[in-house]
């Protein structure tokens, strides 16, 4: 009996590595610390009332961003561990198995649990404000989306200490990720956690599409929307039509692993390549899901700090729409080397080159917006300006990779690694940092410290180039991706050393940024006007942080850059003039959180194939949904006019 328990615990908890025990200890300490803090300061009720049950898009946005920054830290530590392993030849810092697990979790976390939630966080904060709405179309569903993402992220992360991490790469290619070659629970974590988080993502896509279609302020036609709202609209469309394919791919691989089916196996007629096909039908649009929103952020930031209307608004919009249509026709370029016919490879090679055109159009639009602008070099603007050259390098190497014959040379080498980090860091990461600086005052009512922000920018941006530019060369010298160590004598030592130094430099940049956030919370300049940047769009028309109901009166829109136009006309105060009226708002609800906890329980049960746990979890999910269905006949309340007046007065808006 005791032996049984011992052997169970030995396989349940990950053992044998001092780093894992360190992680165990720090997770336990952090959990105890949080529980102690909440109990000692009597914060449980506050946590439940203000955060866990909220349906307010601004609070949900903040929670997304906090979670994303935590995941950036986790994914970043993974990256630094990999680079520490590769600093010298024949290093034994990590075993091959540990290295496999770390590059898998690094990629998965950065894409699914860092980039997307960061972007969704910024969308949540900015989009309803930019279109003059009181909330998103489906506030309850918005909370469901967040909590599904958050608990899926937690499910994925506990694989590190319980059961073992996935180790077949973030692309999880079959047959390597199948049961035969990869027994154990690691891959199950990948499949189930991404499935749960994907449901939330799909719901977010539907939510924002309907919000933007139906909830715009009067007068705001589609072609008067701010560019970030446009980018969110286009992204939502891509999410809605790409994510179902991932859902299917993950479901089929789960059925293979849990129920012995033969979709992607090597026996009984299974087709491992079908996994690659499905994965990338979703995966290429996914690249645009994490790219297009930041193109919107850059448009806002560049237009605001060049103090000009965006150049070529219509060209911007149409190029995004073109990208959304074309992004579904290029997926095969991720597996040119799998032995496709020449016609297939040629088609996808050409379609990939075509999609570079609308992206190029956008680059020129930003350059022309800067032309003759009064440029103000704030931190947000620095990130946006750095994006242009750095991203263009990634874009051009992308066109190099799109040439199918040449791809046989670059494929799976560090050249590819350099390419997609050039696009994803200079695009997505610089973009969300720019957005964070830009919208921080709207979120918290104070401005992030510019001096520390600029330090973080320069350290991070320079280190990023030190880290990734050498990868192009070391890739051409023959170093392939996912090597856990390399022999000496190939001439790779100096470049690997430089890359590792660059990686740690980025880590320093991140730490400066964290310090900047802590410092600014204490000493940051308050934003009393609601409009710290002399902004052009409606989110700057309300106070900072925005009140629960966003706008006391829904603004009337006449032009693009609606708020800039209002300020010129002197009608900017129209949204907070007395008399006020009662405002209709959605009720908070605990169901989204509880529902997601049941998803976590069911998911954990499925990972371990413990049906005694998975089935009650699934029943809990269904019960929550039925409860919601029977309870949603009256889930709104009114904020009385007096309370609106008090809030506006407290924000200094009424004299």
């Amino acid at each position: 009996m005791i032996e049984n328990i011992k052997s169970f615990l030995g396989s349940f908890f990950v053992t044998g590595d001092p780093m894992i025990y360190g992680a165990d200890a720090s997770i336990a300490l952090a959990s105890i610390g949080i529980v102690f803090y909440l109990t000692y300061f009597k914060k449980w009720k506050w946590l439940w009332d203000e955060w866990l049950t909220t349906v307010d898009h601004k609070k949900i946005g903040i929670m997304y961003i906090i979670a994303a920054i935590l995941m950036l830290f986790r994914g970043g530590v993974d990256a630094l561990l990999m680079r520490a392993q590769l600093i010298i030849p024949n290093n034994t810092f990590l075993t091959s198995q540990h290295y496999n697990e770390i590059f898998t979790t690094h990629g998965t976390i950065m894409i699914f649990f860092m980039a997307m939630p960061f972007i969704f966080g910024l969308m949540n904060i900015a989009v309803p404000l930019q279109i003059g709405a009181r909330d998103v179309a489906f506030p309850f569903l918005n909370a469901v989306s967040f909590w599904l993402f958050f608990l899926a992220a937690m499910l994925f992360n506990i694989s590190f200490v319980i059961g073992g991490s996935p180790d077949a790469g973030w692309t999880s290619y079959a047959p390597l990720a199948g049961l035969k070659l990869d027994p154990g629970v690691g891959e199950n974590y990948y499949l189930i956690a991404l499935q749960i988080s994907g449901i939330g993502t799909l719901a977010t896509g539907v939510n924002f599409l309907v919000t933007i279609f139906k909830m715009r302020a009067p007068g705001m036609t589609l072609f008067k929307m701010p560019m970030f709202t446009w980018s969110t609209l286009v992204t939502s469309i891509i999410v809605i039509f790409a994510f179902p394919v991932l859902t299917i791919a993950l479901a089929l691989m789960s059925i293979d692993r849990l129920f012995g089916a033969h979709f992607f196996t090597i026996e009984a007629g299974g087709s491992p390549m079908m996994w690659a096909n499905l994965f990338w039908i979703w995966g290429h649009p996914e690249v645009y899901i994490v790219l297009i929103p930041v193109l919107g952020i850059f448009s806002e930031v560049i237009s605001t700090f060049a103090h000009k209307t965006l150049f070529g608004y219509k060209a911007m919009v149409w190029s995004m729409i073109a990208i959304s249509v074309l992004s579904f026709t290029t997926w095969l370029h991720h597996f040119f080397t799998m032995g496709n016919t020449a016609m297939v490879n040629s088609f996808f090679s050409i379609s990939t080159m075509i999609i570079a055109i609308p992206t190029g159009v956008k680059i020129f639009n930003w350059l022309f917006t800067l032309n003759k602008g009064r440029i103000e070099f704030t931190t947000a603007m620095l990130w946006a300006l750095a994006f242009i050259p750095n991203f263009t390098i990634g874009g051009i190497t992308g066109v190099m990779l799109s040439l199918a014959p040449a791809d046989y040379q670059y494929h799976n080498s560090y050249f590819l690694i350099a390419h997609f980090h050039n696009v994803l860091i200079a695009g997505t990461v610089f973009g969300v940092f720019a957005g964070l600086h830009y919208w921080w005052p709207k979120m918290f009512g104070h401005i992030l410290n510019e001096r520390l922000g600029k330090w973080a920018f320069w350290v991070f941006m320079i280190s990023y180039n030190i880290c990734f530019l050498p990868m192009y060369f070391i890739g051409l010298m023959g170093m392939t991706r996912r090597m856990y160590t390399f022999p000496s004598g190939l001439g790779w030592e100096p470049l690997n050393l430089i890359i590792t130094l660059g990686a740690f430099g980025m880590g320093v940049g991140f730490l400066i940024m964290v310090w900047m956030i802590v410092y600014s919370a204490k000493y940051g300049k308050r934003d009393t006007t609601g409009d710290p940047w002399n902004g052009r769009t409606l989110e700057w028309a309300t106070s900072s942080p925005a009140p629960e109901y966003n706008f006391a009166h829904i603004p009337q829109v006449e032009t693009v850059d609606a708020f800039a136009h209002m300020k010129e006309k002197g009608t900017a105060d129209s949204i907070y003039k007395a008399p006020f009226q009662a405002i209709h708002m959605p009720n908070d609800s605990g169901i989204p959180f509880i529902l997601s906890v049941f998803f976590f329980i069911a998911g954990f049960g499925l990972v371990f194939e413990w049906y005694w746990m998975a089935i009650p979890g699934a029943i809990g999910i269904v019960v929550c949904m039925i409860l919601r269905s029977f309870k949603d006949h009256d889930d709104h309340h009114h904020i009385p006019a007096e309370e609106v007046e008090q809030t506006e007065r407290a924000a200094g808006r009424l004299s």
């Binding site: 279609f213 469309i237 390549m273 096909n277 039908i281 016919t341």
Partner: protein
């Protein structure tokens, strides 16, 4: 309320015709497969076209996709869905059958 609405008070011809058409098209497809011995490609093309006709019958006659109240966005969503579906099915078969 419904007195001024002509549509609501008459016999639901549209639905009856929709049902009749879908039953006829279904039987027609079965007949093409079972009783006609056309070449395989011709048979498959005909039955897929019949299925698409039936899908339109459902969308137009039963699901009211074409009525007012935000028609444009609704049709856009379904049309884009069909576009992606075509890309996924046709693209996957083209890639995975390794013929041309």
């Amino acid at each position: 309320m419904s007195a001024n609405n002509h549509e609501l008070n008459k016999f639901p011809w549209k639905h009856v015709i929709g049902l009749a058409l879908s039953l006829i098209l279904t039987l027609l497809a079965l007949w093409v497969v079972v009783s006609l011995s056309l070449p395989t490609v011709a048979t498959l093309t005909i039955i897929v076209l019949l299925a698409i006709c039936q899908a339109f019958i459902q969308l137009l006659m039963f699901m009211h996709i074409n009525e007012n109240h935000g028609r444009g966005y609704r049709i856009l969503a379904i049309a884009f869905g069909f576009y992606i579906a075509a890309v996924v099915v046709y693209g996957s078969l083209w890639i995975m059958w390794f013929t041309v």
